[in-house]
């Protein structure tokens, strides 16, 4: 019975909107459809170009961007223009049915011409010097050979790699191929996102090759994602709801931004897989006279101009030429392995200069005048070097030494940028010696297997000098002070740093050059277990103008360096008179005040034993949780939110299954019937039934019959009557009735599941687990 009173009894009308499965609006004429389709495909070439560009820009971690961009421009634009013309899109023929016609050209000519075009372009651009500017077989062979060798060469080069044609050919080919395939897909298919696939696959090349490169891949990845979204927008044949997009796109962008920022910091994520760790680099062992053997020669020709330096900023410190870390009892040599580089010098492994203390960046331009050997001087360990175009530059990743691989010609000019550390005095004072057995080793037996007596005497001397000290740094300072105070610098002293020479120097001679002082320090320190090496270089030289310094032979200097855990290699200066000889820019005078204070305090009586501070303890607090083993606050909060979100998602996924199981396995038939009905009610909410809980069983049944239809829809009113009788009339159903109710429920769920998109169901699932707010006024069931 319904009423005609002012109160409208709820009527059940359809309110579920028709699903939009096609193009909105009236059917279009065939010509219009073809025209629209053609326009959409043409416009989609723009996001395809953006996709390829973003993918190619991933190579910015592999090559300097300035050298990469021109290559990318050609590799992106040329194949797109070519594919657009070759595909015959502009002359697409409509079929009788009005659909877009087949391309006038099949795929194979397009693919063939694209390959030919690449060969011509790469011969005429990157390899134009091989065949005098004209495409030719020689250039093509060179390009092909370089393309095959480029992956391995890039994996064995310190990034960023030099912008050489032999290496740039790889991004050129990869981006060209990806662009060509993507353009063909964009022009020949209707799938909205498919043309993004080649660019995504191509992005794998820079990801793998640039794993160790400078910068980050996230900008390129973000651009790739953005271009893909643009591609979908352009190619989608469904009219997108702009208002919904306006709300969701910023949210999606914000979510992507948060994921981009926090993603790299998630715990449990290891270092990215670096394929170059598995590639064997063509390491070159330097064949050159040890610079330490040349110290005496430089001192004898003290006026000889070695190189000039034009420096920016403050007065420069010492220039390091070579580092010698192997001692065989006769001579100090280098264990360096040279690796090609485009100019970047990687950080010293196991040391974070930013964490170890403040750094000062210094840029110096060197002009070599007379410098024997293959090494290039630079202040401390350089971070990057710029050399003239065409110069092959190598670096020893362990020590940071630079080399051209061949004798350095006179007039050779380069620019080195260094980050000079400013040591933390407190940290140095209690720093532990690094674990580096190779840099502690001393040959203890001779060729005949007999113990070398010198070693014992060195050990005795070192122990005596450092008696009363407890900290490694204190021992090193004590050694340097002792050498400086006990022995005299004599530029004319005999060269040599064999065991016997050093024993003579320490026991009888008392005079020597920095060669003997540094070598003696290194040997004595190694007997104390301190990892030590000898550096050979030059003092700052003589100032000749504003920011210009002339370094001569007499400025040569050798000094020892000791490696401390978490700090790295720290130079010591046991040679007396370094400051007097070097003038105001001499090494010890240029020492930071902090370091000098550490040295002074280290010579004081030993303070009570203090546990050495770990690098984490010494590092400035960044989030308030440093030193406790906990991640910082800025990471903890997002992590906690992430965990909560994950737990919520799992709960939301579990809840419906648990609820359904509870309903289906109720204690008796009555509960099972009512459970089936509640399950039906929940499912109907997915297709438009307002989830107010204020609907009667017959209202729900009428809604279900209208919107679900079929056999199960027709059975719902009877089931609603049963539910009413069970709930309000005390009817006791039998188990057959309960089984029938659940059979209807299963059928209805199957129907609803087929109608509701997965995404919508997932969103409803997530929302359904949220705490229910107090319901406001809702529309009646229609």
């Amino acid at each position: 019975m319904s009423t005609t009173t002012p109160v409208a009894v709820p009527s059940l009308r359809s309110e579920v909107p028709a699903r939009t499965g096609g193009v909105a609006g009236e059917p279009k004429a065939p010509e219009e459809t073809v025209e629209t389709d053609r326009t959409r495909r043409l416009w989609s070439l723009l996001p395809v170009a953006a996709l390829s560009g973003a993918s190619g820009y991933g190579f910015a971690r592999v090559f300097p961007p300035s050298e990469l961009l021109a290559v990318l421009a050609v590799a992106v634009l040329a194949p797109i223009a070519l594919s657009a013309v070759l595909s015959g899109l502009l002359r697409r023929r409509p079929t009788r049915e009005g659909r877009a016609g087949r391309p006038t050209l099949p795929l194979w000519p397009s693919a063939l011409l694209t390959v030919v075009a690449w060969a011509v372009v790469v011969s005429a651009t990157l390899f134009h010097e091989v065949s005098d500017g004209l495409p030719g077989a020689a250039a093509l062979r060179a390009a092909w050979s370089a393309l095959l060798d480029a992956p391995h060469a890039l994996l064995t080069t310190i990034l960023p790699a030099p912008g050489e044609p032999e290496l740039l050919v790889l991004p050129h080919a990869v981006v060209w191929a990806a662009t060509a395939v993507a353009a063909e897909l964009a022009l020949r298919t209707r799938a909205p996102l498919l043309p993004a696939l080649p660019a995504v696959l191509a992005f794998g090349f820079p990801l793998v090759l640039g794993a160790d490169g400078p910068g980050s891949s996230y900008p390129a990845a973000g651009a790739l994602a953005g271009a893909a979204a643009l591609l979908v927008l352009v190619r989608s044949r469904v009219r997108l709801p702009l208002r919904a997009m306006a709300l969701r796109l910023p949210a999606a962008a914000a979510l992507g931004g948060v994921a981009t920022l926090l993603g790299p910091h998630l715990p449990g994520l290891g270092s990215p897989y670096d394929l170059r760790e598995t590639a064997t680099p063509p390491t070159e062992r330097p064949l050159s006279v040890s610079p330490l053997d040349q110290v005496a020669a430089w001192l004898r020709n003290g006026d000889e101009k070695v190189f000039t330096v034009r420096t920016s900023g403050a007065a420069p410190g010492n220039y390091r030429l070579a580092v010698l870390d192997r001692y065989d009892g006769t001579t100090w040599t280098s264990s360096a392995g040279l690796t090609p580089t485009g100019g970047r010098v990687p950080e010293e492994q196991g040391t974070d200069r930013d964490a170890a203390g403040r750094t000062k960046t210094l840029q110096q331009r060197f002009t070599v005048q007379s410098l024997p050997g293959i090494w290039l001087p630079a202040a401390d360990r350089p971070s990057s070097v710029t050399t003239p175009e065409g110069t092959a530059l190598s670096v020893d990743q362990d020590s940071g030494m630079l080399s051209t691989g061949t004798a350095v010609p006179s007039g050779f000019t380069y620019t080195a940028t260094s980050r000079l550390p400013e040591y933390d005095a407190d940290r140095l004072r209690y720093a532990a010696a690094a674990h580096d057995p190779a840099r502690v080793a001393l040959p203890a037996v001779d060729a005949a297997g007999q113990p070398i007596p010198s070693v014992r005497s060195f050990r005795t001397v070192a122990a005596r000098v450092t008696r009363g000290t407890t900290q490694p740094y204190q021992r090193a300072v004590r050694l340097a002070d002792w050498l400086r105070a006990t022995y005299r610098l004599d530029p004319g002293a005999l060269p040599g740093h064999t065991y016997r020479s050093l024993e003579f120097f320490l026991a009888d001679g008392g005079r020597g050059t920095s060669e003997q002082f540094a070598a003696s320090f290194a040997v004595l320190a190694r007997t104390l277990g301190l990892p030590t090496r000898v550096a050979v270089g030059f003092r700052p030289g003589t100032r000749t103008g504003s920011g210009t310094w002339q370094v001569r032979g007499r400025d040569v200097l050798a000094w020892p360096e000791v490696r401390f855990a978490g700090v790295g290699w720290v130079p010591f200066h046991p040679t007396p008179g370094e400051a007097a000889q070097g003038g105001p820019g001499a090494a010890s005078a240029a020492e930071p005040e902090e370091r000098q204070r550490a040295d002074r305090e280290s010579t004081k009586p030993t303070p009570p034993s203090t546990p050495p501070r770990t690098p984490a303890e010494a590092a400035p607090a960044t989030g308030g949780a440093s030193g406790t083993g906990m991640p910082p606050l800025w990471l903890t909060v997002p992590l906690a939110l992430l965990l909560l979100a994950t737990a919520y998602a799992l709960y939301a996924l579990w809840l419906p299954y648990s609820r359904r199981s509870g309903r289906r396995n109720g204690p008796d038939a009555r509960h099972r019937v009512l459970g089936a009905w509640r399950q039906i009610e929940d499912r109907l909410t997915e297709i438009g039934l307002p989830a107010t809980g204020a609907h009667t069983a017959q209202e729900i049944a009428a809604f279900g019959a209208r919107h679900v239809g079929g056999t199960v829809g027709r059975r719902l009113p009877d089931l609603a009557t049963l539910v009413n009788e069970v709930e309000y009339a005390g009817r006791r159903p039998d188990s057959a009735a309960a089984d029938a109710a659940w059979a209807d429920c299963d059928a209805l769920e199957k129907t609803v599941r087929a109608r509701v998109p997965h995404r919508t169901r997932l969103l409803r699932l997530l929302r359904s687990a949220a705490p229910r707010r107090r319901r406001g006024a809702r529309p009646p069931v229609r």
Binding site: M1, T3, P10, G730, P780
Partner: protein, 322 residues
């Protein structure tokens, strides 16, 4: 197993539909309105029919009266109508030397108060006692009205000049307020074709005594689950919490709704009531009992809108909600 209909509910349903069919022979296409009026009759409540002129308000009342073998009285309310014109008057009999009470038209089983809002408030209020207590007190003597007793009042919703709107207290005495509405096209054509159909042509299909028995049976035999009592109370209580309502429905409204729900269930041969009964009757039973705020009235909201909103909001929070 489905609970079978009881004897009382079966008899009521049979009588209910016989009456409805009989009335529908004259009042075409208004089955729902007829059934609401009958629900009101079997709930022994009073009915206020409000609509524009010419929609069949009076005809409905006359058909109802003609279908029942009972006393029927009609009062045409006018501004000069006195209370005694309704309830009766006491006169002095010279021949016997005693005062005698002459019953007014209210002493009938079905009283049609036509255009009730045209009478003065004093006269309108004369109906208060008899509608609620079913008796008239005159000169200290109480005179009960016959049972069943039903006041069937009509009033126009237009042409309000010179009328006296019923006060809230009197509106609350009516079990339902309904509108007849215009008939649909087919029904109106049928009305034109059968112009000879007259309420007086209807034969009675039930007696007043039978109606009185069925009223008692409906109240006794229709069971109402606790969950439904709870639902009725929550619906009525919700009308008091709506911001647009200055005064919500009273407990008298809950009782009235329950009575109507029982009759509706019995009219469908059900010895038990369902939430559907509550939803179907909440509007006619409760809407006229609400007093809206002036702002709500100015914005065009009505009591019916509020009831619809309440029904769409209040959960059927039965214990079986799993």
């Amino acid at each position: 197993m489905t609970p079978p209909p009881t004897d009382g509910t079966a008899r009521l349903a049979k009588c209910f539909h016989a009456l409805a069919d009989n009335v529908e022979r004259v009042v075409k296409g208004k089955r729902d309105t007829i059934e609401l009026a009958l629900t009101c009759l079997f709930a022994e409540g009073h009915l206020l029919v409000e609509d524009v002129p010419g929609t069949g308000k009076t005809t409905l009342a006359r058909c109802l009266a003609a279908s029942i073998e009972a006393e029927f009285a009609r009062v045409q309310f006018t501004p000069d109508l006195l209370p005694s014109d309704i309830t009766g008057v006491t006169v002095y009999r010279q021949n016997t030397g005693v005062f005698e009470f002459l019953p007014g038209p209210v002493f009938a089983n079905i009283v049609l108060g036509d255009e009730i809002n045209r009478a003065s408030p004093k006269t309108q209020s004369a109906l208060l006692e008899v509608m609620e207590e079913r008796r008239v007190t005159a000169d200290g003597t109480t005179h009960p009205v016959p049972r069943p007793f039903m006041v069937l009042a009509t009033q126009n919703s237009v042409d309000m000049g010179g009328t006296y709107p019923l006060p809230e207290a009197q509106l609350d005495r009516f079990l339902m307020r309904i509108t007849v509405g215009y008939p649909d096209h087919t029904s109106e054509v049928s009305v034109l074709k059968e112009t000879g159909a007259d309420p007086e042509s209807l034969a009675p299909v039930a007696t007043a005594q039978e109606i009185a028995e069925l009223i008692a049976l409906a109240a006794a035999e229709v069971q109402v689950a606790d969950a439904l009592y709870d639902y009725i109370v929550r619906v009525v209580a919700a009308t008091r919490a709506v911001p647009d309502v200055r005064l919500g429905a009273s407990p008298r409204g809950s009782v009235a709704l329950l009575r109507a729900v029982r009759v509706r269930a019995a009219s469908q041969s059900r010895p038990y009531a369902f939430p559907e009964d509550v939803k179907a009757l909440a509007g006619p039973v409760l809407a006229h009992r609400l007093i809206l705020t002036p702002e709500a009235e100015l914005s065009g909201r009505s009591g019916a809108d509020v009831i619809e909103e309440v029904l769409a909001t209040v959960e059927l929070n039965s214990g079986a909600r799993l």
